[in-house]
Each structure stands twice: as structure tokens, then as C-alpha cells.
């Protein structure tokens, strides 16, 4: 019955470039970045400042690779360099590994708290933690040159700002200004003195912040964290992630529910979903507390003649339901019963609900709240 296009994307002519990556011959589309070409070829390049949603920044220098083109050999930041025909790429070389390690050690020297707490204060090791581990970067390689200012006191209930952990990668300000386009935070100062700043140094509550939480989720170090999650003081290693879908609007953003000891402790975006790691204030900060609310219904309830409810067993409640349904069918016919499905529950339950109405009761009186 349906004739529809199955993904016929408009065909644009792509020019392909021949490259060699660590000796492997590959083809990269003209205009693509060296970073993408290397990743596509199956080699990993570490990054700290890169977020695919806002593109290359070239500030952290972790993605440095060695390229050889037209007989010249040089080291370039692979996120900002474009692929070229006949280019050879090598990563990691011994020199580059050393370079990356030194870079991490310099960043570590600015973090006062790292000495007290080997893992930064996020749930789960952060991108930065993983890089430190992989490159065996030492915390005391350099004398502490300076310590970044602690977060300005910010009482908002959602986003914890702790610039002890800031490495000035600017992913948070890029996401805020370029992607969410809220313009709540910006960079103040230059070089070593740079810091993340709200206008007039206000609290986030008094800024244009929409509390979408995307700064938290792009932050590679734990300088920005979900206050609701970190305030629970749960050790990073004991947290499970479950990929699912946000329970609010029809955008259907991918989320990961964080659980610990059989209880939900928070939510994070699922970066592999089509929503590309974006959430709004509801998905980030309101998608799980209601699940563990004390007010949840725990037992079937039956209303008594005085109008109050009493607890009942499943058998008793379901027997009452079916006897009432059977009674109505017998005396008034199946069309005297109405079933309303839900836009909030899984499709499978909705399928059963309409089949129940049609097969078990015998009526097409099945509707959902799409009208309301």
C-alpha cells in the first residue's frame, strides 16, 4: 500500500583522495578532516576540545598527528587539518606520544584537587581521566604553576561549576553559544588566565541559561557536573548505564539512565542516538526522580463504599475488573465499554490495549490522547 522513497539522497559528486594512514591505504572524501579520515580508518586519536556538533577548535592539541605530504613532514592538529591527496599520516609516533603525555601533565599541574581526588568529580571516568591513565601522565611532573579559581558560589540546583578541573577547552562555551545558542557562558581572559564566565559574573539562574545540561555533558573533565548526581556521592566505578529514550516530548532524545544498587541516580544523554547528545532541562534533570518517588503506586487499590481506597491483591483487583467488564458486555453490549490507551507507555502495551478492546471486549471504542 505504501510506495515511498527509501533514502534516495541527492547524489553529489564526491572527489576521493588517496591517503596512507599508518601504512594502510584508504580513501577520504575531499573536504574531510584528517581526524575523521584517521578515525574512519579504524585508528584512534585522542581529543579533549573536540565535539562533533560544533566542529574543530584546535585548542587542546591532543589530536596532533604526523603528516607527510609533498615530501614535507610536519605535526598538525588533525581536527583542523584537511585531508590531501597522497598524504601519509602516522599516529601515534614515539614523539607524539611524549608530546601528548607532556600536555596532559601540564594540565594536571593546574588542578589542585587532583592530588586529593585522583578521579575528577564526575560519575564514571571522564575523557580526561581516561587520557591521563592511557598516557600514564604524572601529576607531579611540573611544579604547580597556578591553580584555577574555584567556582564562583552558584546556588542553582542543577549545574555544579568547579573550575578546579577546567582545562580551558571551551567545549562548554561553544555548545552554549553555537549549539544551544543560549549565550549563558563565555570565556573571560586569555591564555593561562582564561576562565569560564557568566555575564556580570552572575549566578546561572540569573543568566539566559536554559539548564539544558549540554555543557555538563560535553565537559571532558568534571568542571561542570550534574549537581543532582554528584551530590549523591556514589563511586564512579559502580554505576550502570541503560540506553533508553527520554519520557517527555515527541523528539525522542536518547538518554542513558544511571543506576547504582538497583536505584536510578541520574540521567545522561546517549551520544549514539540521532539526538546527538542533546537534551533539554527535562531530559537531563527531570527524567528519573519521579520514577523513584515515594508517591508511586505499589499495590492495586479498590475503592470502598465510603469512597476511600483499600489495598488489594492482584487477583482480587483483576477479578473485579473482568467481572465488571463481562457484566457490562452481557447486559449492555461491548460498545458500553471504552478503553483509552496512552501516549506515555511503550507501543507494545498500546498494541495490546487495542487488541484487548477489539478481541477481549469486542469494541472499536479505543482511543488515545493524541487529541488532547
Amino acid at each position: 500500500m505504501t510506495t515511498v522513497a527509501t533514502n534516495p539522497r541527492p547524489q553529489t559528486k564526491t572527489k576521493w583522495l588517496d591517503m596512507r594512514i599508518n601504512g594502510v591505504t584508504v580513501q577520504a572524501a575531499e573536504g574531510s578532516r584528517v581526524l575523521d579520515a584517521v578515525n574512519d580508518a579504524g585508528f584512534e586519536v585522542p581529543t579533549l576540545c573536540y565535539d562533533e556538533r560544533v566542529g574543530a577548535q584546535g585548542t587542546c592539541r591532543m589530536c596532533l598527528v604526523e603528516v607527510e605530504v609533498n615530501g614535507r613532514t610536519e605535526q598538525v592538529a588533525s581536527c583542523t587539518a584537511f585531508a590531501e591527496d597522497d598524504m601519509s599520516v602516522a599516529t601515534p609516533t614515539e614523539e607524539i606520544t611524549d608530546y601528548r603525555k607532556t600536555l596532559l601533565e601540564m594540565l594536571l599541574s593546574e588542578m589542585a584537587s587532583m592530588n586529593a581526588n585522583p578521579y575528577s568529580n564526575k560519575v564514571g571516568p571522564t575523557e580526561f581521566d581516561r587520557a591521563v591513565e592511557e598516557y600514564e601522565a604524572r601529576q607531579d611532573a611540573f611544579p604547580q604553576l597556578r591553580v584555577r579559581e574555584k567556582a564562583s558560589h552558584d546556588t542553582n540546583p542543577f549545574i555544579q561549576r568547579d573550575y578546579d578541573y577546567c582545562i580551558a577547552c571551551y567545549r562548554c562555551t561553544n555548545i552554549c553559544n553555537d549549539w544551544e545558542q543560549a549565550g549563558a557562558i563565555t570565556v573571560d581572559g586569555r591564555g593561562q588566565d582564561s576562565s569560564i564566565f557568566t555575564f556580570f559574573d552572575n549566578e546561572l539562574m540569573d543568566s539566559p541559561c536554559t539548564f539544558c545540561g549540554q555543557c555538563i555533558n560535553t565537559c571532558p573533565t568534571g568542571a561542570l557536573t550534574d549537581r543532582k548526581v554528584v551530590s549523591q556521592d556514589i563511586v564512579a566505578q559502580n554505576v550502570d548505564h541503560t540506553q533508553t529514550v527520554c519520557p517527555y516530548c515527541g523528539v525522542g532524545c536518547g538518554i542513558e539512565l544511571l543506576t547504582h544498587d538497583g536505584e536510578i541516580i541520574g540521567a545522561e544523554p546517549d551520544f549514539s542516538a540521532p539526538s546527538r547528545g542533546s537534551l533539554c532541562v527535562k531530559g537531563q534533570f527531570a527524567s528519573w526522580e519521579f520514577v523513584r518517588s515515594e508517591e508511586r503506586l505499589r499495590h492495586p487499590l479498590i475503592k470502598q463504599s465510603d469512597g476511600t481506597f483499600r489495598q488489594a491483591s492482584w487477583d482480587e483487583a483483576l477479578d473485579l475488573v473482568t467481572s465488571k467488564f463481562k457484566g457490562a458486555i452481557a447486559t449492555e453490549g461491548p460498545d458500553s465499554i471504552v478503553c483509552w490507551a496512552s501516549a506515555r507507555v511503550v507501543t507494545e502495551a498500546n498494541y495490546l490495549m487495542q487488541k484487548f478492546a477489539r478481541v477481549a471486549i469486542g469494541t472499536n471504542n479505543i482511543d488515545n490522547c493524541s487529541r488532547t
Partner: protein, 560 residues
């Protein structure tokens, strides 16, 4: 949506109407903002000065309920200036000549008068839309559909797509943004009185045979009744028993007193939910259900993408998943099912639902979400509909529709127009966002948004308690003075039913085709509340958590 969310970022022109996208669909608005950043023009046609207008090339502030004359006039300009896509019209549509004659009366000058805008705003919108076609996307939400002429509103937008051939191509389309996480899935599964799963019509010859054979049971022949009709039948005593799954009808439906009265009129009400909602309190039997985080299955989003929902924790106490509850009810009704798990249910559903044919839990686990229609396992799914042919199998019919004003318009007794909608940090009836800590700081309670000039005339200050009354009911709410509301128009959400049950006031009119209620327009009167200030504030305080709460007006990010 005919097209995909991601495609919006690549559109050259976006027409957003009746959608407060940055608040109601924040993550879709990111793609719109991205398109603007890439150089696309964005025209927002909306009575309120919503946040998205900050990114708009043009904000056309039409009066509430004047969508049809506006879009008919846009069509008028496109046709009279020869900007339409003759090729597309010739091969893909029917009824163009009659339509072209029909919109002749809707000149920019004529419609501008009705809509309260200038003719130039109409002409420029038409030219921009046609110039960017086919990469001109139309996005709309309930601001279009929740009117007594809602289905005609939608057709007036569809006409524009047909005129300029923006259907069946990437970055274009006519895109309703769905309001709830699985409203698409509920429709896909056949929870519609006229449709079996996959939008197959109950009354279409041959369709019922297929299902009778697959299910091994005779099926009812006549179409069922909608929610709106059902509530009337309850009051008349023709509906005896009601089974409600996961819906807070008493708060979410218009003219709430009517909905409550209807549900109280039936002999037997079963409500299956995760909380003892206002609706569940009316029930004779309440069945405790699992929440999304405890359920296994799928949701279908606005772009028809079926995605996996997975349980992270177990339900509390004796609560069971909706699938478990329904399967035991089948058994007790003497119709036991062979299905046991959500996966079994999905497999049965796809066997009778051609648009889901190629989708399975296993495939979703492997590949991630898939957009229907997806015919078989090799089908990658469908990013945009109507590629070579309309999915109905018919050509696209132009719809000559006419202006129908809202059922209720302001008069001497009820001089204000009330429109309702959502705010970013509160959702629907507040059963979920109401339980998230910190959210009381963002929007602490219901607020009536009113224009500063109107407020000055009435001598109102921010936070003043007001009584808002319509012919159907009255609520008390505090004033929020803001230029988001044009003069004469006030706005409320409905997320704080404990204190301000907005839908006590809203209209009981509904669309004559789809029976969608007219939430977007009703006439009200406003006066300073007779409530004791202290008493009301104490009630407000009750629902907040402890701790210092700032004035709401200081804490409204994104407002003004």
C-alpha cells in the same frame, strides 16, 4: 513528520507556526537555530512573541485563529506571481484550478485585515517560501491543530507544500511536531477508533479479514467512538465502564469539570497508572503500573523513528508492566494470548503492520532507531515520506478551505482571549516534572501572561492574584506581565492542577472532523482575586520544597 528532524538544519527556509519550539520541543529547535546559522530564513507565524522569534528573520504576529486566511493569502501571492511548481502540480496533485480560483478572494490586503498584520508580511513570506522551495520546511504543532477548525488549518499548510513541491524531498515537508514521547506509537499500534494497527481502516473492505485471520477472532465491524464522544455518552449513561491506561484525563482535557463529571457518571472506572493522579482518584480500581524506566519495548518519535526503551530498574512494590497487566486481563477474559514478553508483542504487531514489517527488537538493538515505513529486514527505513508517490496512494488534493473564527470570541462580558500551551521546564499536567527537585525554582506555579499595556490599564503588578473566569469555570493565578503576550491575549499552561486547574476554564468546542479540542482559544474575564492573599500563598508554598524561593519573575530564564 513527513521529514526528519536532522533535515531541518539543512533547510533554506523554515515556516514555524503554532509551535513554541524552543520550549515545547527544545532539541528540535536546535536544528532550526542551526539552519538560521547556516543562512536559512526563519519566519515565525504566531500570536505570541515566543522565544524562537529571537532567531526569526520575521515574526508575523497574526491574531489567534486566523491561520487559514493567512495561509490562503500566501497561496494567493504564490499563484498570482507565478511562483508555484507547475511540474509538481501537474504530476502529483489534483484540484489546482479550483483551489486557485478559491484563494483569489484571499488577497494580501483582505487577509491582512483579518489577521491583524500588514499585506507586505504576507507577500514577503510567500516569496521567501517559494524562492527556497523545495528546501522550504513547514513545522507546526498544537497551535494549528487545537482549534475548532484544526484540520482545515492543517490543510491550509498542506496546500503550500503542494503548490511549491516541497513534499517528497529532503529538507522540506509539512511537519507536525508530536507532543508526547509515544503519541506516534499509540497511533501506529492502532489505538484509534477507526484504525487497526498501521493506520489500516477498520471499515475498509478486506482489512478486517486480514486481522480476523491473524488473530483468529471475529472483530467488531463498526468504528468506535473518540474520547470526546465517549465523555458525552458517559453523561448520557450509554457508556458503563471505562479502562484508562496512563492518562490524567481530568486535568489534561478541556473543560475539566465536564471530564470529571463524565468519569464520575460511569458505573465502573479502572485506571492503570504510576501515580494516584486526579483521574485515578475517581477510579473504582487502580492498577499500579511500571514507569518507562522499568519497561521493555519501543517508543516512536515525531519523525516516525522507532527506538528501544529498556528497563533500568524494577517496578516498586507489586507494580507490574503494562504488558504484564494486559496479558493477565486477556487470560481472565477467556482470550489467553501466546505472547509473553514485549518482544513477542512487537513480533505479532509487525506481522500485521506493514509499515513496521522490517523492524524488530533485535534489529533496533543492533542498528539503533529505524524510521517507518520499513517493509522488510533489508529496508533501511524512510527518512522522508511521499518520495515518488503520496503514501496514501492518491495524488495530493488541494483543499479549498475557508476562514472559521474560534468557537468563542471575546465579547463585553468575557473580553479577553485565553490561549494555553507548555513551558520548557514544566510538562503537561506536572505529574513528572512536579516531582523533580529544583524545578520549582524555574517555574514555581502557574502564571497568567499578560501584556504590560493591558496590565497598566488594569493597574496590575507582577505577582498579583487574579481570578480568570470563562463561561465554564474559574481559576486563581498570579499575574506575569510580559511582552510575549500581545494586547488582549493572555496565556497559561496547565502544569499546576493542585492550585490552578487551567482546563476548568478552557473551551468545550472541538474540531468537527478529528474532535480535537479547541485549547487555543476561549473568552475569559479577569479580575483581581477575592482570595485572601495569605491563604493562597500558603497553598502555593505547600507544593514547594523547603528553602528560600526567589520571586518567580527573577527566575525565568529565557523570558523576555
Amino acid at each position: 513528520m513527513s521529514n526528519s528532524i536532522e533535515e531541518l538544519a539543512g533547510s533554506d527556509f523554515l515556516l514555524v507556526t503554532g509551535s513554541n519550539t524552543t520550549e515545547a520541543h527544545p532539541v528540535i529547535s536546535l536544528r532550526m537555530k542551526r539552519a538560521v546559522k547556516n543562512g536559512a530564513k526563519l519566519v515565525v507565524v504566531d500570536p505570541r512573541k515566543i522565544e524562537l522569534t529571537r532567531w526569526a528573520t520575521r515574526h508575523v504576529q497574526i491574531r489567534v485563529g486566523t491561520d487559514i486566511p493567512f495561509f490562503n493569502a500566501v497561496a494567493n501571492v504564490i499563484i498570482n506571481e507565478g511562483l508555484h511548481d507547475g511540474e509538481f502540480i501537474k504530476y502529483r496533485t489534483e484540484g489546482f484550478d479550483a483551489f486557485a480560483r478559491h484563494v483569489q478572494m484571499y488577497t494580501p490586503e483582505y487577509s491582512a485585515e483579518i489577521c491583524g498584520v500588514t499585506p507586505e508580511e504576507i507577500i514577503d513570506t510567500a516569496r521567501d517560501f517559494a524562492a527556497a522551495a523545495p528546501k522550504s520546511a513547514i513545522c507546526y504543532t498544537l497551535g494549528i491543530t487545537e482549534h475548532s477548525c484544526g484540520s482545515h488549518n492543517v490543510q491550509s499548510l498542506g496546500n503550500l507544500g503542494l503548490l511549491c513541491g516541497t513534499l517528497g524531498v529532503p529538507n522540506g515537508g509539512v511537519n507536525p511536531l508530536r507532543g508526547q514521547n509515544n503519541v506516534q506509537g499509540a497511533g501506529d499500534a492502532g489505538c484509534i477508533p477507526t484504525d487497526l494497527p498501521g493506520y489500516q481502516k477498520v471499515e475498509r473492505p478486506g482489512i478486517r479479514d486480514i486481522f480476523e485471520k491473524a488473530w483468529g477472532e471475529p472483530l467488531p465491524r463498526r468504528r468506535g467512538i473518540t474520547k470526546i464522544t465517549a465523555m458525552e455518552q458517559m453523561i448520557k449513561g450509554r457508556v458503563k465502564a471505562v479502562y484508562v491506561m496512563g492518562e490524567n484525563t481530568v486535568v489534561s482535557d478541556p473543560h475539566a469539570n465536564h471530564a470529571e463529571h463524565a468519569l464520575k457518571s460511569v458505573d465502573f472506572l479502572v485506571v492503570q497508572d504510576i501515580f494516584l493522579t486526579e483521574t485515578a482518584q475517581l477510579a473504582d480500581v487502580v492498577l499500579p503500573a511500571a514507569a518507562f524506566a522499568e519497561s521493555d519495548g519501543t517508543f516512536a518519535n515525531s519523525e516516525r523513528r522507532v527506538q528501544r526503551v529498556r528497563p533500568a530498574v524494577s517496578p516498586p512494590g507489586e507494580a507490574k508492566t503494562d504488558v504484564e497487566i494486559l496479558l493477565s486481563l486477556f487470560e481472565r477474559m477467556g482470550k489467553p494470548q501466546t505472547m509473553e514478553t514485549s518482544k513477542d508483542v512487537f513480533n505479532e504487531m509487525r506481522s500485521v503492520t506493514p509499515i513496521y514489517g522490517g523492524i524488530s527488537h533485535e534489529r533496533l538493538d543492533r542498528e539503533g532507531g529505524i524510521q517507518w515505513p520499513c517493509g522488510d529486514e533489508d529496508d533501511p527505513g524512510t527518512e522522508y515520506l511521499h518520495g515518488d508517490e503520496f503514501s496514501t496512494g492518491f495524488p495530493g488534493f488541494f483543499a479549498p478551505v475557508d476562514h472559521i473564527p474560534p468557537a468563542e470570541e471575546p465579547d463585553d462580558e468575557f473580553p479577553w482571549l485565553l490561549t494555553t500551551g507548555r513551558r520548557r521546564s514544566t510538562y503537561h499536567t506536572g505529574t513528572q516534572t512536579g516531582k523533580a527537585t529544583g524545578f520549582q525554582h524555574l517555574v514555581p506555579h502557574e502564571m497568567l501572561e499578560i501584556n504590560p499595556l493591558d496590565a497598566a490599564e488594569m493597574g496590575l503588578a507582577d505577582g498579583d492574584l487574579l481570578d480568570v473566569a470563562s463561561r465554564r469555570g474559574k481559576v486563581t493565578v498570579s499575574a506575569r506581565i510580559t511582552e510575549r503576550s500581545p494586547r488582549g491575549l493572555v496565556f497559561m499552561s496547565f502544569a499546576f492542577p493542585e492550585i490552578t486547574r487551567t482546563n476548568d476554564v478552557t473551551s468545550d468546542a472541538y474540531d468537527f472532523i478529528t474532535e480535537t479540542p479547541e485549547f487555543k482559544a476561549c473568552a475569559v474575564k479577569i479580575s483581581k482575586s477575592e482570595y485572601q492573599d495569605e491563604e493562597f500563598r500558603r497553598a502555593q508554598r505547600r507544593i514547594r520544597l523547603a528553602g528560600e524561593v526567589k520571586q518567580p519573575t527573577e527566575l525565568m530564564p529565557g523570558f523576555d
